[in-house]
C-alpha cells in the first residue's frame, strides 16, 4: 500500500512538472510580456531595462528554474491587468469556486445516486421513465442555456432567487469567505450549483443505472436473495457497493472538471470565482493568471486522481493484492 501510494506520488510530480513546462511556455510564445505591461510612450531603453530587471534575458533554463521555484512557493508573479500578485488574486477567488463546486458535486451525488439505484431496480416504472427523460435534457442541453432558463424562471418570473452574485458573505480567517452562513448566500448558491451539477447528476444516474442492471443479474445477488436477505441489504450493501468502482472513476474526473471548468456557469451567474477571473485573463492576455490557473487545474486533477486510486483499493479488496504487483 505504501509502495503503491509513493509510486503514484512520483507520477503526480512528473505530471505537475510537465504542466509547469507548458505553463512556462505560455510566457515565451503568447506575445511579448513587456508589450503587455508598458504603455505606448515607453522608450526602447526603458523596455530593455525592464526586460533585464524581470530576468527575461536570462537563458531559458534559468528562467524555467525560477518559474518552478516561484510556483513551489505559490508565487506566479504579478497580474498584468490588476498589478497584484496572482496568488493573492486566485486565493481571493478560490473560496467562491470551491463552495460552488462542492455544493454542485454534493447535489449531483445526493440526487444522482438514489435516482440511479431506483431506475436500475425499477426499470419499467413510470417514475424511472420520467427520470430518464429528465436526464436526457440534462445531458443534451448546454450549460449556459440551462442557467439562463433557470434565471428566467426563478429570478425573473417567480422572483424567488437571485440571478447573480454570491449574496452576503462572511469572512473566516484571513482569506476565506463563505456564503454558507447567510440566507442570501445560501439562496444565491442554489441556481448556479444546479446548473453546474445537472450534467454530472444525469451522468452519475445513468452510470449507476447501467451498473446496477449489470450487477443485479449476477450470481451473488441471486444467492443473496436465495438466502432470504432483505431487499435493503441486497440493494445497498451488496449491489450498490459493487457498482462503485467505475462510478468513482467517472465521478472523480467529473469533480475535477466541475472545479476547473465552472467558467461558463460563473459567467452566466456573474459568480465571483476563478472561472470569471480566468475568462477576464484570457480577454486581456494576462499570462501569469493563465499560467497559474493551468497549474492549479492540473494540481486539482492530480490530487483527485490519487484519491480515486486510493478509494479503489479501499473499496475492492481484490486490488489490495494485485495492485502491489503493478
Amino acid at each position: 500500500m505504501f509502495g503503491f501510494i509513493s509510486r503514484r506520488l512520483v507520477m503526480a510530480v512528473v505530471v505537475m512538472f510537465v504542466v509547469a513546462l507548458i505553463s512556462f511556455m505560455l510566457f515565451r510564445f503568447v506575445g511579448d510580456p513587456i508589450n503587455q505591461m508598458v504603455g505606448i510612450e515607453t522608450t526602447p531603453e526603458q523596455r530593455e531595462a525592464l526586460r533585464e530587471r524581470l530576468g527575461l534575458n536570462d537563458p531559458i533554463i534559468i528562467q524555467f528554474a525560477r518559474f518552478i521555484m516561484g510556483a513551489l512557493q505559490f508565487d506566479f508573479g504579478n497580474s498584468y491587468q490588476f498589478k497584484q500578485p496572482v496568488a493573492e488574486l486566485i486565493a481571493k477567488r478560490l473560496p467562491a469556486t470551491l463552495e460552488l463546486s462542492f455544493v454542485s458535486a454534493l447535489f449531483a451525488l445526493v440526487v444522482g445516486v438514489p435516482m440511479g439505484v431506483y431506475t436500475g431496480l425499477n426499470r419499467h416504472s413510470p417514475l424511472s421513465k420520467l427520470f430518464l427523460t429528465v436526464s436526457l435534457i440534462g445531458v443534451s442541453l448546454p450549460t449556459f442555456f440551462i442557467g439562463i432558463l433557470l434565471i428566467f424562471l426563478f429570478s425573473v418570473h417567480l422572483q424567488w432567487l437571485p440571478s447573480f452574485g454570491r449574496g452576503d458573505v462572511v469572512a473566516i480567517g484571513d482569506w476565506w469567505t463563505t456564503g454558507f452562513l447567510t440566507l442570501s448566500g445560501l439562496k444565491a448558491l442554489i441556481l448556479p450549483s444546479i446548473t453546474l451539477g445537472l450534467f454530472q447528476m444525469t451522468l452519475i444516474m445513468r452510470l449507476i443505472r447501467a451498473e446496477m442492471l449489470e450487477v443485479i443479474r449476477t450470481d451473488y445477488i441471486k444467492f443473496a436473495r436465495a438466502r432470504g436477505l432483505p431487499d435493503r441489504s441486497i440493494h445497498f450493501v451488496h449491489a450498490l457497493k459493487n457498482t462503485m468502482v467505475p462510478v468513482i472513476t467517472i465521478t472523480g474526473l467529473q469533480l475535477g472538471s466541475i472545479i476547473a471548468f465552472a467558467i461558463i456557469t460563473e459567467t452566466v451567474f456573474q459568480w465571483p470565482g476563478m472561472g470569471l477571473l480566468f475568462l477576464q485573463a484570457v480577454q486581456n492576455v494576462d499570462i501569469p493568471i493563465m499560467a497559474a490557473y493551468l497549474m492549479l487545474t492540473a494540481f486539482i486533477f492530480v490530487v483527485i486522481n490519487l484519491a480515486v486510486d486510493i478509494l479503489y483499493v479501499v473499496i475492492d479488496p481484490r486490488l489490495r493484492t494485485e495492485r502491489s504487483g503493478l
Binding site: Y220, A226, R227, S233, V237, N242, G325
Partner: protein, 575 residues
C-alpha cells in the same frame, strides 16, 4: 414423512404470443436425509423446478398449477414477504459457479453473520462464533483466520465450501443444489459431493440436486427424476433408473454418457435426442476440395514434436531482474505426436494444458524449448510468409462455442474468412461453394450459412467452429475442451463428427480435456499434466489399465463410478 413435496407443478413463462411451459405436471417428494437428483439436458426445465421451490422464478415466470409443501405447509401461494423469510431459513440454495456466487467486496464472515442475524435469534458475537464453527464443518482449515478473508482469497473448491456453509448457516430443512459441482475439477468435485452427502445425513435435510451429469447422479443420489423438455419422464430409486431405465429418453441419455471403462468405436447415435444432425454428405478425399492441393510434404517421424518447453509468466515486476517473480505455467514439457494420431492431454484446471496449445499455435512465445512441426522449428520463425503457411496447417477449436464466433458476422462469412485470408480460392463464387460444402459436411446444411451464430444451439455452433477450422485444409487440429460446454447427447455427436473427419481427412489431433472418459474414447495416446508438468505419457488404453504415476491413479480413482448405469443396450454396439 417427506419434508419437501411437489404436487403437479407446472411453471409457465407467458410470452407476447404464446405461453411457454418450462415444467409440466411435476410431482416429487424428498424424505429427510435423502438426496433427490433431477437430471436432464439444458432446457429440460430442471432448474425451473428448483427456482419454483425457492420462489425465485425469473420474470415473467409463474406457477401455473400445482402445490409445493415444506413439512406439510403449503408455500407456493405465500406472499413475497413470507416467502423471503422462508428463503435461507427453511430452504437453502447452492449455486453452480463458486467464483461468482459470493459478493467479492464483503468478507466471508460478513456474509455469514448477515445471513444468520437475519434468520436466527443470535447476538452478533454468537453469530461470529457460529460462522467459524460452520467453516470448520464444511472442511475449511484455520476457520478462525480464514473467516476474516475475502472470497478471492479462496480457491474454487474452498469457495464452494463457503457457499455450502452460507446455504446451511440458518439450518434449512430443504437444500436445493443447482449444478453444485459442474464448475469444479474432478478431484474437488469428489470432495464436494462427499461433503454434501455427509452434511445431508448429519443435518437430516432433504436435498434436491439438479445436474446434467450422470456421474453426480450415480455418486450421491438416493432417488432420481429424469426430465425431458419440461416433462418428468421417469422417477424412482437411483439404482433402478440408472440400472434398468424404462423410458426411451433415459436409455438414450445413459447411452450417450462416455464410457470410462471400455473404448467403443463410435458413440451410439441417439435418435430420441432433438437436433441431431442429418446424415452428412460423404466425401471422396481424392476428388474433393478438402483433399486437393494439400501440398504438405509428408513427414517421417513425428508431425509435431515439443521439446523441453518452459513457459513463465511475470507475476511481480521489478526494476532489478533478479527481484522479478514468475509463475511457471509449463516446466520442461516434451512430447511427440505422430501423423494421423490423436494425442490427449488431461489434467485439472491450472495444469497448463491450454498453455501448451497456445504455445504450439504461437499465441504464446515459450520461455524455453522448441516446437517442431513437420520438421520445422516454430518458435524461431520470423518470416511472415512461413508463419502464415504454418498457421494454415494447424487450426484450433475452442471450448466456448458462444464466445468463439463473431456474433456480427454471418456463418458463411465466418467460415469463408480463413479461405480468403490464406487466398485458397481464386474467386468469390468458388470460395462460397467451398463454404457451403463444408457446412454440408459438418451436418449443418448450406442453408445455415445465411444465418447468424445466435440462431444456433451450442452444439451447432461447435459444428460451425469445426467447419471454420477445416476451411484452411489443415492437417493438424487442436481441440481445447471442445465439448465441455455441451450436453452429453450433443457431445456424443460432436465427438463422432471429429472422429469421422479424422478418418476421412487423415487429420492429426491434439485433444485437450479434463474428462477422462472422453479422453479414453478419443485418444490414441494420452499425457497427464499437473502444475505445468507432464507426468506421464502412455497409450490411452494402457494408461487406464496400468497407470504409472500416483497422480494418474488418483485421477482415475476419482472418476464418478458409472457401474450402475445400464449398458445393456450398448453391448451389441461394442460387439
Amino acid at each position: 414423512m417427506s419434508i419437501l413435496e411437489i404436487r403437479g407443478l407446472t411453471v409457465e413463462f407467458p410470452g407476447r404470443k404464446n405461453t411457454f411451459v418450462a415444467a409440466r405436471d411435476v410431482t416429487l417428494s424428498i424424505d429427510p436425509g435423502k438426496i433427490l437428483g433431477v437430471v436432464g439436458e439444458s432446457g429440460a426445465g430442471k432448474s425451473t423446478v428448483g427456482n419454483a421451490v425457492i420462489g425465485l422464478l425469473e420474470n415473467p415466470g409463474r406457477i401455473g398449477a400445482g402445490e409445493i409443501y415444506v413439512h406439510g405447509e403449503r408455500i407456493d401461494n405465500l406472499p413475497q414477504k413470507k416467502m423471503r423469510e422462508l428463503r435461507g431459513k427453511r430452504i437453502g440454495m447452492i449455486f453452480q459457479d463458486p467464483l461468482t456466487s459470493l459478493d467479492p467486496l464483503q468478507t466471508v464472515e460478513f456474509q455469514l453473520v448477515e445471513t444468520m442475524l437475519q434468520h436466527l435469534p443470535l447476538s452478533k458475537s454468537e453469530a461470529q462464533q457460529r460462522a467459524i464453527e460452520l467453516l470448520d464443518q464444511v472442511g475449511i482449515p484455520n476457520p478462525a483466520e480464514r473467516v476474516k478473508q475475502y472470497p478471492h482469497q479462496f480457491s474454487g473448491g474452498m469457495r464452494q465450501r463457503v457457499v455450502i456453509a452460507l446455504a446451511l448457516c440458518a439450518e434449512p430443512e430443504v437444500v436445493i443444489a443447482d449444478e453444485p459441482t459442474t464448475a469444479l475439477d474432478v478431484s474437488i468435485q469428489a470432495q464436494i459431493l462427499e461433503l454434501m452427502k455427509k452434511l445431508c445425513t448429519e443435518k437430516n435435510v432433504a436435498m434436491l440436486v439438479i445436474t446434467h451429469d450422470m456421474g453426480v447422479i450415480a455418486e450421491i443420489t438416493d432417488h432420481v427424476a429424469v426430465m425431458y423438455r419440461g416433462n418428468l419422464v421417469e422417477y424412482g430409486e437411483s439404482h433402478q433408473i440408472l440400472g434398468a431405465p424404462t423410458h426411451e429418453y433415459t436409455k438414450s441419455l445413459i447411452a450417450a454418457v462416455p464410457r470410462p471403462d471400455v473404448k467403443v468405436h463410435r458413440f451410439p447415435q441417439v435418435d430420441y435426442i432433438e437436433g441431431s444432425a442429418k446424415p452428412f454428405k460423404q466425401i471422396d478425399i481424392s476428388t474433393h476440395w478438402l483433399g486437393q492441393s494439400r501440398d504438405y510434404k509428408p513427414v517421417d517421424g513425428a508431425l509435431l514434436s515439443v521439446k523441453n518447453i518452459d513457459m513463465k509468466f511475470l507475476t511481480k515486476n521489478a526494476w532489478i531482474p533478479k527481484n522479478r517473480q514468475y509463475f511457471s505455467a509449463l516446466k520442461q514439457v516434451s512430447f511427440d505426436i505422430q501423423p494421423g494420431e490423436t494425442f490427449g492431454l488431461v489434467g485439472e484446471s491450472g495444469s497448463g494444458k491450454s498453455t501448451v496449445a497456445r504455445v504450439i499455435t504461437g499465441l504464446y512465445h515459450p520461455s524455453g524449448g522448441t516446437v517442431h512441426f513437420a520438421g520445422q522449428e516454430l518458435t524461431s520463425l520470423s518470416d511472415r510468409k512461413q508463419v502464415l503457411a504454418m498457421r494454415r496447417q494447424m487450426q484450433m477449436i475452442f471450448q466456448d462455442p458462444y464466445s468463439s464466433l463473431n456474433s456480427r458476422m454471418r456463418v458463411r462469412d465466418i467460415v469463408a474468412e480463413p479461405i480468403k485470408f490464406h487466398k485458397l480460392a481464386s474467386t468469390n463464387t468458388e470460395c462460397f461453394r467451398i463454404v457451403d460444402d463444408l457446412l454440408d459436411h459438418v451436418g449443418l446444411g448450406s442453408a445455415a450459412g445465411k444465418k447468424y451464430p445466435h440462431e444456433f444451439s451450442g452444439g451447432q455452433r461447435q459444428r460451425i467452429s469445426i467447419a471454420r477450422a477445416l476451411a484452411t485444409r489443415p492437417r493438424f487440429l487442436l481441440c481445447d475442451e471442445p465439448t465441455s460446454a455441451l450436453d452429453v447427447s450433443i457431445q456424443a455427436q460432436i465427438l463422432n463428427l471429429l472422429k469421422d473427419l479424422q478418418d476421412e481427412l487423415g487429420l492429426t489431433m491434439l485433444f485437450i480435456s479434463h474428462d477422462l472418459a472422453v479422453i479414453r474414447q478419443m485418444c490414441n495416446r494420452t499425457g497427464v499434466m499437473r502444475f505445468g508438468e507432464l507426468l506421464e505419457v502412455q497409450e490411452t488404453e494402457a494408461l487406464f489399465e496400468t497407470p504409472q504415476h500416483a497422480y494418474t491413479k488418483e485421477l482415475l480413482s476419482l472418476m464418478p463410478s458409472m457401474d450402475i448405469l445400464s449398458r445393456d443396450n450398448l453391448e451389441e454396439e461394442v460387439a
